[in-house]
Protein backbone atom coordinates (compact mmCIF):
# COMPACT_ATOMS: atom_id res chain seq x y z
CA UNK A 1 0.00 0.00 0.00
CA UNK A 2 1.86 2.98 -1.39
CA UNK A 3 0.25 5.57 0.88
CA UNK A 4 1.17 3.51 3.93
CA UNK A 5 4.79 3.11 2.85
CA UNK A 6 5.02 6.87 2.31
CA UNK A 7 3.49 7.51 5.72
CA UNK A 8 5.94 5.12 7.40
CA UNK A 9 8.88 6.88 5.70
CA UNK A 10 7.53 10.34 6.56
CA UNK A 11 6.30 9.80 10.12
CA UNK A 12 8.02 6.64 11.34
CA UNK A 13 11.30 6.37 13.20
CA UNK A 14 13.85 3.60 13.45
CA UNK A 15 15.11 3.08 17.00
CA UNK A 16 18.12 1.04 18.11
CA UNK A 17 17.45 -2.70 17.82
CA UNK A 18 15.53 -2.24 14.56
CA UNK A 19 12.45 -1.10 16.41
CA UNK A 20 10.10 0.71 14.06
CA UNK A 21 8.15 3.41 15.80
CA UNK A 22 4.91 4.47 14.13
CA UNK A 23 3.14 5.54 17.28
CA UNK A 24 2.18 8.90 15.78
CA UNK A 25 -0.44 7.33 13.52
CA UNK A 26 -0.91 3.63 14.30
CA UNK A 27 -0.64 2.58 17.92
CA UNK A 28 -0.43 5.38 20.47
CA UNK A 29 -1.81 8.43 18.74
CA UNK A 30 -4.03 6.95 16.02
CA UNK A 31 -4.92 8.63 12.72
CA UNK A 32 -8.52 7.43 12.50
CA UNK A 33 -9.06 8.87 8.99
CA UNK A 34 -6.07 6.98 7.68
CA UNK A 35 -7.47 3.77 9.18
CA UNK A 36 -10.45 4.12 6.81
CA UNK A 37 -7.98 3.80 3.92
CA UNK A 38 -6.35 0.81 5.63
CA UNK A 39 -9.76 -0.87 5.94
CA UNK A 40 -10.49 -0.12 2.25
CA UNK A 41 -7.19 -1.76 1.32
CA UNK A 42 -7.95 -4.93 3.30
CA UNK A 43 -11.29 -5.04 1.49
CA UNK A 44 -9.38 -5.64 -1.77
CA UNK A 45 -7.77 -8.81 -0.48
CA UNK A 46 -10.46 -10.38 1.70
CA UNK A 47 -14.10 -11.08 0.96
CA UNK A 48 -15.39 -9.07 3.90
CA UNK A 49 -19.01 -9.72 2.94
CA UNK A 50 -18.46 -13.28 4.21
CA UNK A 51 -17.01 -12.52 7.64
CA UNK A 52 -18.97 -12.52 10.91
CA UNK A 53 -16.31 -10.93 13.11
CA UNK A 54 -12.93 -9.20 13.18
CA UNK A 55 -10.56 -10.62 15.80
CA UNK A 56 -7.49 -8.99 17.33
CA UNK A 57 -5.47 -9.04 20.57
CA UNK A 58 -5.20 -6.27 23.12
CA UNK A 59 -4.00 -3.61 23.16
CA UNK A 60 -2.34 -1.99 20.15
CA UNK A 61 -4.28 -3.97 17.53
CA UNK A 62 -7.61 -2.72 18.83
CA UNK A 63 -7.87 0.67 17.05
CA UNK A 64 -7.27 -0.65 13.52
CA UNK A 65 -9.37 -3.76 14.14
CA UNK A 66 -12.20 -1.60 15.50
CA UNK A 67 -12.30 0.58 12.36
CA UNK A 68 -12.16 -2.51 10.12
CA UNK A 69 -15.02 -4.20 12.03
CA UNK A 70 -17.02 -0.96 11.98
CA UNK A 71 -16.53 -0.36 8.26
CA UNK A 72 -17.19 -4.02 7.39
CA UNK A 73 -20.38 -4.00 9.50
CA UNK A 74 -19.44 -6.79 11.92
CA UNK A 75 -18.53 -7.03 15.61
CA UNK A 76 -14.98 -6.63 16.86
CA UNK A 77 -13.69 -9.31 19.23
CA UNK A 78 -10.44 -8.82 21.10
CA UNK A 79 -8.55 -11.51 22.97
CA UNK A 80 -7.36 -10.30 26.36
CA UNK A 81 -4.07 -10.89 28.07
CA UNK A 82 -4.70 -12.88 31.26
CA UNK A 83 -3.90 -10.75 34.27
CA UNK A 84 -3.30 -13.63 36.70
CA UNK A 85 -2.74 -17.38 36.78
CA UNK A 86 -6.20 -17.74 38.19
CA UNK A 87 -8.10 -17.96 34.91
CA UNK A 88 -11.80 -18.76 35.04
CA UNK A 89 -13.58 -21.42 33.02
CA UNK A 90 -15.35 -20.90 29.72
CA UNK A 91 -12.34 -19.51 27.91
CA UNK A 92 -10.28 -20.34 24.88
CA UNK A 93 -6.62 -19.91 25.88
CA UNK A 94 -3.37 -19.74 23.99
CA UNK A 95 0.09 -19.19 25.38
CA UNK A 96 2.20 -16.71 23.47
CA UNK A 97 5.83 -15.82 24.04
CA UNK A 98 6.40 -12.07 23.74
CA UNK A 99 9.91 -11.09 22.69
CA UNK A 100 9.15 -7.47 23.52
CA UNK A 101 8.39 -8.26 27.15
CA UNK A 102 10.52 -11.42 27.40
CA UNK A 103 7.75 -13.48 28.91
CA UNK A 104 4.88 -15.76 28.10
CA UNK A 105 1.42 -14.24 28.15
CA UNK A 106 -1.83 -16.15 27.90
CA UNK A 107 -4.37 -14.82 25.40
CA UNK A 108 -7.91 -15.55 26.54
CA UNK A 109 -11.29 -15.27 24.84
CA UNK A 110 -14.67 -16.14 26.28
CA UNK A 111 -16.17 -19.20 24.55
CA UNK A 112 -19.46 -17.27 24.43
CA UNK A 113 -18.24 -14.95 21.69
CA UNK A 114 -16.78 -17.26 19.06
CA UNK A 115 -18.11 -20.58 17.74
CA UNK A 116 -18.35 -22.93 14.75
CA UNK A 117 -20.71 -20.64 12.84
CA UNK A 118 -18.25 -17.77 12.79
CA UNK A 119 -16.04 -16.73 9.87
CA UNK A 120 -13.20 -14.68 11.25
CA UNK A 121 -10.82 -12.10 9.83
CA UNK A 122 -7.79 -11.56 12.08
CA UNK A 123 -6.42 -8.00 11.99
CA UNK A 124 -3.32 -6.71 13.79
CA UNK A 125 -1.21 -3.58 13.63
CA UNK A 126 2.22 -5.26 13.55
CA UNK A 127 3.81 -8.57 12.76
CA UNK A 128 7.35 -9.42 13.84
CA UNK A 129 7.84 -13.10 14.66
CA UNK A 130 4.11 -13.72 14.43
CA UNK A 131 3.62 -15.30 17.85
CA UNK A 132 0.61 -13.20 18.82
CA UNK A 133 -1.21 -13.99 15.55
CA UNK A 134 -0.38 -17.69 15.96
CA UNK A 135 -2.13 -17.46 19.33
CA UNK A 136 -5.18 -15.90 17.66
CA UNK A 137 -5.24 -18.61 14.96
CA UNK A 138 -5.01 -21.21 17.73
CA UNK A 139 -8.06 -19.63 19.42
CA UNK A 140 -10.01 -19.58 16.12
CA UNK A 141 -9.22 -23.28 15.68
CA UNK A 142 -10.29 -24.10 19.25
CA UNK A 143 -13.62 -22.36 18.64
CA UNK A 144 -14.36 -24.31 15.45
CA UNK A 145 -14.79 -21.04 13.54
CA UNK A 146 -13.32 -20.74 10.05
CA UNK A 147 -10.42 -18.42 9.39
CA UNK A 148 -11.19 -16.14 6.45
CA UNK A 149 -7.85 -14.37 6.49
CA UNK A 150 -5.11 -12.54 8.33
CA UNK A 151 -4.53 -8.84 7.66
CA UNK A 152 -1.52 -7.02 9.07
CA UNK A 153 -0.79 -3.32 8.70
CA UNK A 154 3.03 -3.43 8.98
CA UNK A 155 5.16 -6.56 8.81
CA UNK A 156 8.81 -6.66 9.79
CA UNK A 157 9.65 -9.04 6.96
CA UNK A 158 13.19 -9.68 8.21
CA UNK A 159 11.79 -11.35 11.34
CA UNK A 160 10.14 -14.12 9.35
CA UNK A 161 6.72 -14.18 10.98
CA UNK A 162 4.79 -13.23 7.85
CA UNK A 163 6.52 -15.79 5.63
CA UNK A 164 5.46 -18.59 8.02
CA UNK A 165 1.84 -17.63 7.29
CA UNK A 166 2.42 -17.20 3.53
CA UNK A 167 3.64 -20.79 3.43
CA UNK A 168 0.61 -22.15 5.28
CA UNK A 169 -1.83 -23.97 3.06
CA UNK A 170 -5.34 -22.55 2.99
CA UNK A 171 -4.47 -19.37 4.87
CA UNK A 172 -5.02 -16.00 3.20
CA UNK A 173 -2.40 -13.67 4.57
CA UNK A 174 -1.77 -10.06 3.61
CA UNK A 175 0.45 -7.37 5.07
CA UNK A 176 -0.03 -3.87 3.67
CA UNK A 177 3.62 -2.89 4.06
CA UNK A 178 6.50 -5.33 4.48
CA UNK A 179 9.81 -3.91 5.69
CA UNK A 180 12.46 -6.33 4.46
CA UNK A 181 15.54 -4.62 5.76
CA UNK A 182 16.77 -1.68 7.75
CA UNK A 183 20.27 -0.44 7.10
CA UNK A 184 21.69 2.81 8.42
CA UNK A 185 18.14 3.76 9.43
CA UNK A 186 16.93 3.25 5.86
CA UNK A 187 13.97 0.94 5.38
CA UNK A 188 13.49 -1.16 2.26
CA UNK A 189 9.98 -2.35 1.42
CA UNK A 190 9.17 -5.65 -0.24
CA UNK A 191 7.61 -5.30 -3.69
CA UNK A 192 4.41 -7.15 -4.58
CA UNK A 193 2.40 -7.51 -7.75
CA UNK A 194 -0.73 -5.61 -6.78
Amino acid sequence: MKLLEEKILREGKVLPGNIIKVDGFLNHRVDTKFLDLVADEFRKYFDVSRITAVLTAEASGIPVATICAHNFGVPLIFAKKAKSDNIENGLYKSEVYSYTYKKTVTLILSTEWLGPNDRVLIIDDFMANGNAVHGLVDIVNQSGASLEGIGIVIEKGFQGGGDRFREMEGVKYRALAVIDSIENNKMTFRKFDE
Copy 2:
Protein backbone atom coordinates in the same frame (compact mmCIF):
# COMPACT_ATOMS: atom_id res chain seq x y z
CA MET B 1 -29.59 6.87 26.94
CA LYS B 2 -32.69 4.72 26.77
CA LEU B 3 -31.38 2.31 24.11
CA LEU B 4 -28.24 1.69 26.19
CA GLU B 5 -30.23 0.99 29.37
CA GLU B 6 -32.39 -1.47 27.46
CA LYS B 7 -29.30 -3.15 26.02
CA ILE B 8 -27.70 -3.44 29.46
CA LEU B 9 -30.89 -5.03 30.85
CA ARG B 10 -31.24 -7.38 27.87
CA GLU B 11 -27.62 -8.43 27.34
CA GLY B 12 -25.81 -7.60 30.58
CA LYS B 13 -25.28 -9.86 33.57
CA VAL B 14 -24.75 -9.14 37.24
CA LEU B 15 -21.98 -11.27 38.75
CA PRO B 16 -21.20 -11.74 42.46
CA GLY B 17 -19.58 -8.63 43.94
CA ASN B 18 -21.84 -6.32 41.92
CA ILE B 19 -19.75 -6.81 38.82
CA ILE B 20 -21.69 -5.77 35.72
CA LYS B 21 -20.75 -7.82 32.71
CA VAL B 22 -21.47 -6.25 29.33
CA ASP B 23 -18.71 -7.97 27.44
CA GLY B 24 -21.07 -9.12 24.70
CA PHE B 25 -21.38 -5.62 23.28
CA LEU B 26 -18.97 -3.20 24.97
CA ASN B 27 -15.58 -4.56 25.98
CA HIS B 28 -14.74 -8.04 24.73
CA ARG B 29 -17.06 -8.66 21.80
CA VAL B 30 -17.90 -5.15 20.63
CA ASP B 31 -21.08 -4.14 18.78
CA THR B 32 -19.50 -1.60 16.44
CA LYS B 33 -22.85 -0.46 15.00
CA PHE B 34 -24.14 0.30 18.46
CA LEU B 35 -21.02 2.37 19.15
CA ASP B 36 -22.12 4.72 16.35
CA LEU B 37 -25.23 5.47 18.42
CA VAL B 38 -23.07 5.94 21.52
CA ALA B 39 -20.91 8.45 19.63
CA ASP B 40 -24.04 10.27 18.40
CA GLU B 41 -25.24 10.51 21.99
CA PHE B 42 -21.96 12.00 23.21
CA ARG B 43 -22.26 14.54 20.41
CA LYS B 44 -25.38 15.93 22.14
CA TYR B 45 -23.47 16.80 25.31
CA PHE B 46 -20.06 17.85 24.05
CA ASP B 47 -19.12 20.36 21.37
CA VAL B 48 -17.10 17.87 19.35
CA SER B 49 -16.37 20.45 16.65
CA ARG B 50 -13.97 22.04 19.15
CA ILE B 51 -11.94 18.98 20.11
CA THR B 52 -8.55 18.03 18.67
CA ALA B 53 -8.32 14.49 20.12
CA VAL B 54 -10.18 11.76 21.98
CA LEU B 55 -8.20 10.30 24.88
CA THR B 56 -8.68 6.96 26.63
CA ALA B 57 -6.66 4.34 28.52
CA GLU B 58 -5.82 0.84 27.34
CA ALA B 59 -7.37 -1.59 26.86
CA SER B 60 -11.14 -1.81 27.20
CA GLY B 61 -11.81 1.89 26.53
CA ILE B 62 -10.11 1.74 23.14
CA PRO B 63 -12.98 0.42 20.95
CA VAL B 64 -15.56 3.03 21.99
CA ALA B 65 -12.96 5.81 21.99
CA THR B 66 -11.80 4.77 18.50
CA ILE B 67 -15.32 4.99 17.06
CA CYS B 68 -15.89 8.37 18.75
CA ALA B 69 -12.59 9.75 17.42
CA HIS B 70 -13.35 8.35 13.95
CA ASN B 71 -16.87 9.75 13.83
CA PHE B 72 -15.79 13.14 15.25
CA GLY B 73 -12.94 13.35 12.69
CA VAL B 74 -10.03 13.59 15.17
CA PRO B 75 -7.17 11.32 16.25
CA LEU B 76 -7.52 8.81 19.07
CA ILE B 77 -4.83 8.84 21.73
CA PHE B 78 -4.60 6.04 24.26
CA ALA B 79 -2.54 6.10 27.43
CA LYS B 80 -0.65 2.86 27.94
CA LYS B 81 -0.09 0.89 31.10
CA ALA B 82 3.64 0.82 31.86
CA LYS B 83 4.94 -2.72 31.52
CA SER B 84 8.03 -2.27 33.70
CA ASP B 85 9.52 0.10 36.27
CA ASN B 86 12.04 1.11 33.68
CA ILE B 87 10.08 3.91 32.03
CA GLU B 88 11.81 6.02 29.41
CA ASN B 89 11.87 9.81 29.30
CA GLY B 90 9.51 12.01 27.32
CA LEU B 91 6.37 10.71 28.97
CA TYR B 92 3.50 12.07 30.98
CA LYS B 93 2.88 9.63 33.84
CA SER B 94 0.12 9.14 36.34
CA GLU B 95 -0.14 6.46 39.00
CA VAL B 96 -3.53 4.86 39.28
CA TYR B 97 -4.70 2.31 41.83
CA SER B 98 -6.78 -0.43 40.23
CA TYR B 99 -9.29 -2.08 42.56
CA THR B 100 -9.90 -4.78 39.96
CA TYR B 101 -6.28 -5.90 39.96
CA LYS B 102 -5.43 -4.70 43.51
CA LYS B 103 -2.33 -2.90 42.41
CA THR B 104 -1.01 0.43 41.25
CA VAL B 105 -0.46 0.83 37.53
CA THR B 106 1.28 3.76 35.85
CA LEU B 107 -0.49 5.30 32.88
CA ILE B 108 1.98 6.72 30.38
CA LEU B 109 1.61 8.93 27.33
CA SER B 110 4.35 10.24 25.07
CA THR B 111 4.76 14.00 25.43
CA GLU B 112 4.95 14.15 21.62
CA TRP B 113 1.24 13.47 21.21
CA LEU B 114 -0.46 15.94 23.55
CA GLY B 115 0.35 19.60 24.18
CA PRO B 116 -1.01 23.04 25.12
CA ASN B 117 -2.80 23.50 21.79
CA ASP B 118 -4.95 20.40 22.25
CA ARG B 119 -8.57 20.30 23.37
CA VAL B 120 -9.31 16.84 24.67
CA LEU B 121 -12.43 14.76 25.15
CA ILE B 122 -11.83 11.81 27.49
CA ILE B 123 -13.93 8.73 26.67
CA ASP B 124 -14.05 5.48 28.64
CA ASP B 125 -16.28 2.43 28.67
CA PHE B 126 -16.80 2.17 32.42
CA MET B 127 -16.55 4.28 35.53
CA ALA B 128 -16.50 2.76 39.02
CA ASN B 129 -14.37 4.71 41.52
CA GLY B 130 -13.00 6.88 38.73
CA ASN B 131 -9.31 6.35 39.38
CA ALA B 132 -8.40 5.62 35.76
CA VAL B 133 -10.15 8.76 34.52
CA HIS B 134 -8.48 10.82 37.27
CA GLY B 135 -5.19 9.55 35.87
CA LEU B 136 -6.19 10.69 32.37
CA VAL B 137 -7.25 14.13 33.67
CA ASP B 138 -3.88 14.36 35.44
CA ILE B 139 -2.12 13.63 32.13
CA VAL B 140 -4.21 16.26 30.29
CA ASN B 141 -3.23 18.79 32.97
CA GLN B 142 0.46 17.87 32.72
CA SER B 143 0.34 18.43 28.96
CA GLY B 144 -1.21 21.90 29.24
CA ALA B 145 -4.09 20.80 26.97
CA SER B 146 -7.61 21.87 27.83
CA LEU B 147 -10.17 19.32 28.95
CA GLU B 148 -13.33 19.66 26.88
CA GLY B 149 -15.24 16.93 28.68
CA ILE B 150 -15.44 13.42 30.07
CA GLY B 151 -17.82 10.92 28.48
CA ILE B 152 -18.46 7.51 30.04
CA VAL B 153 -20.64 4.78 28.58
CA ILE B 154 -21.66 3.03 31.83
CA GLU B 155 -21.19 4.43 35.34
CA LYS B 156 -21.58 2.38 38.48
CA GLY B 157 -23.19 5.25 40.35
CA PHE B 158 -23.08 3.49 43.71
CA GLN B 159 -19.26 3.57 43.64
CA GLY B 160 -19.16 7.36 43.70
CA GLY B 161 -16.58 7.99 40.96
CA GLY B 162 -18.95 9.89 38.67
CA ASP B 163 -20.28 12.16 41.39
CA ARG B 164 -16.73 13.28 42.19
CA PHE B 165 -16.48 14.58 38.60
CA ARG B 166 -19.99 16.10 38.63
CA GLU B 167 -18.96 18.19 41.64
CA MET B 168 -15.78 19.47 39.97
CA GLU B 169 -16.00 23.03 38.81
CA GLY B 170 -15.47 23.61 35.11
CA VAL B 171 -15.58 19.92 34.18
CA LYS B 172 -18.24 18.69 31.76
CA TYR B 173 -19.01 15.11 32.72
CA ARG B 174 -21.59 12.80 31.20
CA ALA B 175 -22.31 9.10 31.65
CA LEU B 176 -24.83 7.61 29.23
CA ALA B 177 -26.20 5.11 31.76
CA VAL B 178 -25.78 5.35 35.53
CA ILE B 179 -26.52 2.26 37.57
CA ASP B 180 -27.39 3.50 41.05
CA SER B 181 -28.13 0.22 42.75
CA ILE B 182 -28.18 -3.51 42.25
CA GLU B 183 -30.47 -5.54 44.46
CA ASN B 184 -31.24 -9.21 43.90
CA ASN B 185 -29.63 -8.90 40.47
CA LYS B 186 -31.98 -6.04 39.57
CA MET B 187 -30.34 -2.84 38.34
CA THR B 188 -31.85 0.58 38.95
CA PHE B 189 -30.81 3.41 36.63
CA ARG B 190 -30.48 7.05 37.68
CA LYS B 191 -32.98 9.36 36.00
CA PHE B 192 -31.79 12.56 34.29
CA ASP B 193 -33.62 15.45 32.68
CA GLU B 194 -32.54 14.97 29.07
